[in-house]
Each structure stands twice: as C-alpha cells, then as structure tokens.
Subunit: 487 residues, 2 copies
C-alpha cells in the first residue's frame, strides 16, 4: 500500500489524530483494508497528509492498542487478521457460541494487560500515557517487602527436603486451615479446609472447575462483566448468557428462560460497574440455584477487601444453605498480581466430583510459596497489610472524589463505595470521545463498552482506576481531563 | 458386618496376608462386599481366623493402598465405592471412552503418590514400608539448598515492584531465553524463546494443550505408560489408544489404523519400561506425523538428564523438520518435585493457535520463582547440580546392579541404561507374588501391570526405583528381597 487519502477536517470537534484513527478503523471494519496489508509508514503518511508525524504516531498507537494493526520489526505496520482473532476452533464453531463484538475483543487485550502478540516481543508497541487510570493496577509501594523477604528467608532456612517434595493436590493442609480461618472471620465464608482447593491463579482454577462441572454448560454473566473470565468460559465452549444489571446487580428473572446452569457473579463489588449486590437480590439468586439440581453460582470475590462506606458485607457463600456457591478468591489485588495463589471453596457435591475426577492433577503452587503465604496470613501480617492498604486507598479515593467535584455538573459518579476504580457517566459526550480526548492529553481512561457483550446503546461511561496512582498523578490526571473535556 | 470366613491354606505358596488380601479384593470385585460396607476390625478378624493381628493389618494396608477400602477415623474400615471412582461424567459416558482396568486405577493413586481422599486427611492410612523402591522419588539430599536460598535472597533484595506485577502469559522472556539456550546445548532442541510456554507443572501444560489442540482427539500412548498423563487425557475425553512396544519402543505400524491424531511418547527414557527409542524408530514416528495435517507428537522428556551408558541422545524434537513435535520438560526430577515449573516448546502452527485461542490465560508461575530458576540455570548452578546428581545416581545405580547379581539366574534386568529405576522380570514368579512377598518383608516394589492398559498376560515384572534411597537402604532392601523371594 502506497498511501492513504484521508479527508481531514481541521475545524472539526474531533481532533486530527482521532480522525485518522477513526478512518483506518472504519476501513478495517468495512474490509477495505485487508488483513496483512501494510499501512504507510508514519513518516510517509504524515508527509502525504501534511501533518505532524506525532499525530500519525498517536493514531497508529491507538490502533495498535486496540489490536487493529500490528507492528512487525523493521517492516512496518500491518492490518491484523481480525477474523483470525475472533475465530473459534472448528468444533466450537458448530455450537451456539455468542461472539464478542469487535471492539470488545480487540480492546481487552490492551486493557487487561494482555499482550496481543505474546510470543512476539518486538511486535507489540504501545502508546505511553503520562497518567493511566488503570482499573487493574494496584499500589505496590505499600507491599511489605521486608516482611515477605524475612518470612521467605525463614522458611528456606528451616526448609528440609519435605518442603521440596510434591505436596497435596488440593494444597498444603496448613495453608487451607489458615485460609479457612481467614475466610470465616473476614468474609463469613463457612467451610472446612477439606473444601478448599489452592491453585496458581483464577484462570487455572476455572480450568479445573470445567473438569468438575463438565461440558456443555450455559453460564450467565453480568453485563458488563470481567472479560478475562468470559474468554475463559468461551474457551471451554460454554455458552455465555449476558444478563443485564440494575442497581441491585444481575437481574435474576431471565435466568430460568436462559436455561443457565451456572451463574458467575461478583456480589461484593461487581467489575466493572462497582455495584454491590443487596441481600434481597442475593436471596433471589440463591433461590434460583436451589430450584433445580446441578445449578451453581460462582462467586468471584476479587476485591472484597476494600470498602469505603458502610460495614463489610459477608460473601454470598455465607448465606448459602444448600451447597450451591463456589467461592473463588485470590491475592492478586490484596497482595500482588505476582502472588500466583488463588483458591476456591467447593460445595460438598462438587468436592466429591473433584475427588473422583480430578484428584490426579498436581497442585500448581509450590510448597515454598504456600508456606510463605501461610505464615504471612497466619501471623497477622496480611491483616496488617490490608489495614494499611485500606488507609492508602481510602486517601486516594477521597482525593479523586474531591478532584472530581467540578465534574459533577456534567457527569454522574457511580461505583464509588468500594474497590479501586469508579465510573464517570457523561450527560452528553460519548465514551469514544471521552477516551480519545483524554488520550490526546496523555491520559488513559477506560471505556465501559468494552466490558459489554452488546453495543446497543452508545456508551457515555468511562472507568477511572486509582489503585496504582500517586496523589500527584491523580491531581495531574484530573487536571488534564478538565482540559481535555473542557471542564 | 460381623465377621468374615476365609479359608486360609497354611501350606499354600501364597502367604497368609496375601490370601486375606486376595479374598477381600475378590469379594469386592464380585460385588459380594458392597460399597460402604464395614469390614471387621483387624483385631476381631485376627481372633476369628486365629492368626496374628499384624497379618490382617498388612492385608488391610494393601487394600487401603490400592483403594479398595478406606479407613474412617474412629469408625473402622469401609469398602470404597469402586463404581464411583470409575464413573466418568455423564457426557463423557456417552463417548467411546476406554476404561482402565480396576487394578490400574486403584493402584495408581497410591503409587504415583496421589492421595485417594485428597480432602480427607484422616481417611487415608497407608502401610509403612521399611524400604520403598519408589520409581517416583528423587534424592533431595543433593539439592543445593544454600545456593537456592542465596539466589532467592538476592532476587528478593533486588526486587522492585515490577517483580510482583503480572508477568507475560508465556513466562518471563529472560527465563525463556535461558531455557532455550539450555535446551539447545543439552538436548539439541531447536527453538526460539517465543515458542516456549512456562507453566506450573506438566498437568497444567497438558490442560493448556487441550485448549490448543481442540477436542475429540485420539491419543496413542505407549503400553505400558505413565498413568498420570493417561488420566489427564481421559479427563479431556480424548480417546486413548494403547500401542504395544518392542525393544525399540512404540510400534509405529498401528498408528494409521488407530486413527491417532496425537502420539505421546518418552523417547529418551520411556516410563516405566526404560526403553530408549533408537533413531530408526524416531524417524518412523516423525514420518507418520508428517503424513497428514494435524498430527502431532508430544515428547515428554521427563528424566533425560540421567544416563549411565553411551552418549547423550538428543531429544526427538531436534530431528523434527516439519514442526510436529511438542516438547515437554520439567524440573521435577532434575531439581525437585516442589519446583512447580514445567515448560513446553510449541511448533509454529500450534504457537499461532495458542496466541489466538489461549493468550488470555495468565502465567501460572510467579515471577519471583521464574527469576530464581532463571538465575539458577543461567549462572551454571543447574549444570553443576546435574553433574553432582549424575555422580550420586550413578553410584546408587552401580550398587543396585551389584546387589542384584545373585538375582540374574532367575530374573532378567532391563531398562538399566538410564533414569532412576530398573525392571526385574522373573522366570516363573508372578508380579502379584513378587509384590506381596516383598511387602511381607517390609519392602515395597512396584508391579509393571498397573501401567498397562490391558491385563492379557500375567505380569512377571516389577520396578525398582533407587532415586531416593541411601546405599544402606538399597543394601537392606535387596537383602530382604532375597529372603522374600528365596534367592
């Protein structure tokens, strides 16, 4: 491809970089630019259009970010094979699989921190932002490195060869006892250590759960939802039913009609909406599950630790009288993403199936890591760390809300009672415009629509995460957003 | 159940404990003893039969070991629900799943170190042996704890928050580079770091491979083979074809007829037979794979590091010109079972599928563990450790062979050129008798038949592993075997 004629409108509300970005995106979506086709170099396109090269850079950066194009080292930019990215395997194809809309697939890679080209380090080049309101990142400065190191050193110095032997498939009993006590006191979860299965990350535990639950399941998920889990269920060829939410969270009415076997919810703090499911809705959900054999609720309690108003709300599992809730927890948010330790609490019926069908899968977490985590929790360091982080996040949260005061005229703020992000919904501006204008000013905000399985309405909502940002970064980010959005 | 009438024959070749064990086993298999039924206590049965209580203890211990009965705390011994253990899920049931013979299912739990009742710590009670010739265990005294601790300490003291952040899905690039160099120099494996996927154990990597390969595959496995992998393939509802072996390993002729898509082999040192696949057979296998699209060979290179005769044989992957070999490696044998780091090398076609279908699965190994392992290998400690272990194992191996000299008249010794176990095949005695008589003398040896998918011939072969045994234990174990087997 030699060059590209784009009608740029200098007097438009849409800035130049975005006009280029939108033009190319449209051309790809409409099939006018084909997969594998090479784009003009940024230098040549800038010369051709008589604009600054940095403007083209920004447009290409956004397209890279969203997965429409890829950079090949020393060769330039190429249109990605969108079909390939969306294609499911032949066998899955024949089933009634819903497909995610294009924008949601392509964005997620960038936004959940997943590299588009995991094997190709040189290939991925992303736009750098000055302030990134990522809803995924957490504050690592607060991490008690010294304690962690001390415990590690102690464990290793006491270590005998037992610790380097293969452990129990479900995880070390001591750690499961500690988790049991912690879950009971902090989350109201009722379980015995025997019900807990320790694994290296939620993704792995969901894979194991597939083996326990079996095939051909229909999974109801909140809409919007956490896309990583959705992708994982899709990779099992589970059928996804996206269920709309109201202020109480997932609407339970349609579950019967949808024929759902499994419901995946985040009742403590839904991602991304921030909704906290009230007790009435919880009971409705449990009632649905109790109505027929084989119905289960997966409760992903991913960031229940951080609440800013009101009293802690116990886990849904604590109200489950009939053994229908699978409780899923991890330490990615509360300690660090690198601590690859998650766990699930199985109801007895599923525990039996695990013991029958899955007992031969070795535990994926090393005994050393299990021992370190066990001591960290058992000896009170985890509780202390959480208290410290609650204070840190509470301060950031308060600062962000204060900075957002001038926005209140034209934006609604929601999901601000818990967790590490909140949502801004504009009166009039669209999400696309908000994200684009912010990006122009070097600020990354996250459109809500990427987490939705339908694009029926034009989204006017963006997510602002604050977990990893310093006070200065929050102030600077909001200052720039006021410029970008004319506030 | 009050008591049990067993006709014991004092003058039989079969010892008393074994007569009891065989009687109860038969009663369970024939459905005369039902699942959940309580056995008489060892005391009462011993009194009833007028024999020593320890004889009944030994018989029950063996039944426990093999999963026919279970111990419930303070309540006694109960017949296990064998049907439950063998039952596959409803969906799998309808497919053409082969079932493992009873003896193989039930034994493996004990023998591959898998607890029968993973959630029920009190439930499992096993017979203790004075000498256990386990083919699974390794020598942990040789592990360079101090080096490992020093590296860990160094990594943690240099650690910044990056190390606690989420890493690349395939594993840290630095580790993959190091693995690449190591695999090339020591195993002749030809690959780029981009082709390597790091994961927490082989079981997990096989789960990931299921997502890459897709469903409804026919997997050819050597007969006998490593049962953990076979169970895992079964849990995918893959159809297993057990292919007989000759002195060159898996016979390739029947693969076409079997309609196999995937072949799982251990060419460097087959488990459990100890066969090393010669170059001719390797070429036949590669030729088979190259003949049709979608055919792949999984090369499990599980203990290639230890050879006692001849020059190192490169991995099968090194001869693969057409991208059909998936190379699977781990550090369970070479470092320690607790080091939950395995890796696979994907051919390019499968790498593309991984990047398309599985890129969203987070890496299951923490970045800290990856960094420690990376330094351990990169800085030469692994090579040094391997050299040390080779010497240690070579000495044990030589001692075991020397001790076995008096056996040569009535036993054939095979599989003794590599690895951490060898095989003894009796002229006349059966495997059952060999295992039972050894057990009577407090020695555990491992029958070959449990790794076979058919029980057509009566097996006369047992495995003797020596990895974890001291010189004294080897001597004592063999001394007792001579008594047990009248040598």
């Amino acid at each position: 491809m030699y060059n590209m004629t784009i009608r740029l409108q200098a007097d438009s509300d849409v800035c130049l970089y975005e006009q280029i970005y939108l033009h190319i995106k449209r051309e790809i979506k409409e099939g006018k630019l084909l997969a594998g086709e090479r784009l003009p170099s940024t230098r040549s396109l800038a010369e051709f259009l008589q604009i600054a090269r940095s403007t083209v850079d920004t447009a290409y950066g956004q397209l890279l970010d969203e997965g429409y194009i890829e950079a090949r080292p020393c060769r330039g930019y190429f249109v990605c094979s969108i079909e390939d990215m969306m294609e499911v395997s032949d066998e899955e194809e024949s089933q009634t699989l819903q497909r995610e809309p294009l924008s949601s697939i392509s964005r997620t890679e960038a936004e959940e921190g997943i590299s588009m080209l995991p094997g190709n380090r040189e290939g991925a080049k992303r736009k750098k932002f000055d302030v990134d309101f990522s809803p995924y990142d957490i504050e690592m400065q607060g991490f008690p490195f010294d304690t962690w190191k001390r415990i590690t050193k102690k464990i290793l110095s006491e270590a005998n060869s037992d610790l380097f032997a293969r452990g129990e498939p479900q995880g070390d009993y001591e750690l499961r006892q500690t988790l049991c006590r912690y879950l009971h006191s902090s989350r109201g979860v009722k379980c015995r250590p025997e019900q807990i299965i320790v694994g290296a990350g939620n993704d792995y535990l969901l894979m194991l759960l597939e083996k326990i639950l079996g095939r051909h399941k229909i999974v109801a998920m909140e809409n919007p939802t956490y896309l990583r889990s959705q992708k994982i269920f899709r990779s099992f060829a589970y059928q996804i039913k996206s269920v709309d939410m109201d202020e109480g969270g997932m609407k339970v009415d349609s579950l019967e009609e949808d024929g759902a076997d499994v419901v995946y919810v985040m009742p403590s703090h839904q991602f991304p909406s921030g909704t906290i499911m009230p007790i009435g809705r919880r009971n409705e959900l449990l009632k649905w599950a109790g109505k027929a054999a084989g119905r289960y609720i997966i409760e992903d309690d991913y960031d229940s630790e951080f609440r800013y108003h009101g009293r802690p709300i116990p886990a849904l599992q604590s109200s489950d009288e009939s053994g229908r809730v699978i409780y899923l927890g991890s330490f990615s948010k509360a300690i660090a993403p690198a601590i690859r330790v998650s766990f699930m609490v199985l109801p007895d019926v599923l525990l039996e199936r695990y013991q029958r069908d899955c007992f031969f899968y070795s535990c994926t977490v090393s005994r050393i890591d299990q021992s370190i985590l066990n001591e960290f929790i058992r000896d009170g360091y985890f509780e202390r760390h959480l208290n410290k982080m609650r204070k840190i996040y509470r301060a950031k949260h308060a600062q962000l809300l204060a900075c957002l005061e001038p926005f209140r005229g034209r934006f609604a703020i929601t999901g601000e009672n818990a967790g590490l992000h909140l949502l801004l919904t504009a009166d009039s501006a669209t999400e696309d415009w908000l994200v684009g204008a912010a990006s122009d000013c070097g600020v990354k905000v996250y459109g809500l629509s990427q987490y939705r399985s339908d694009q029926s309405d034009v989204s006017k909502t963006v997510l602002l995460g604050f977990g990893a940002l310093s006070g200065e970064q929050i102030a600077e980010g909001i200052r720039r957003l006021r410029v970008a959005w004319n506030i």
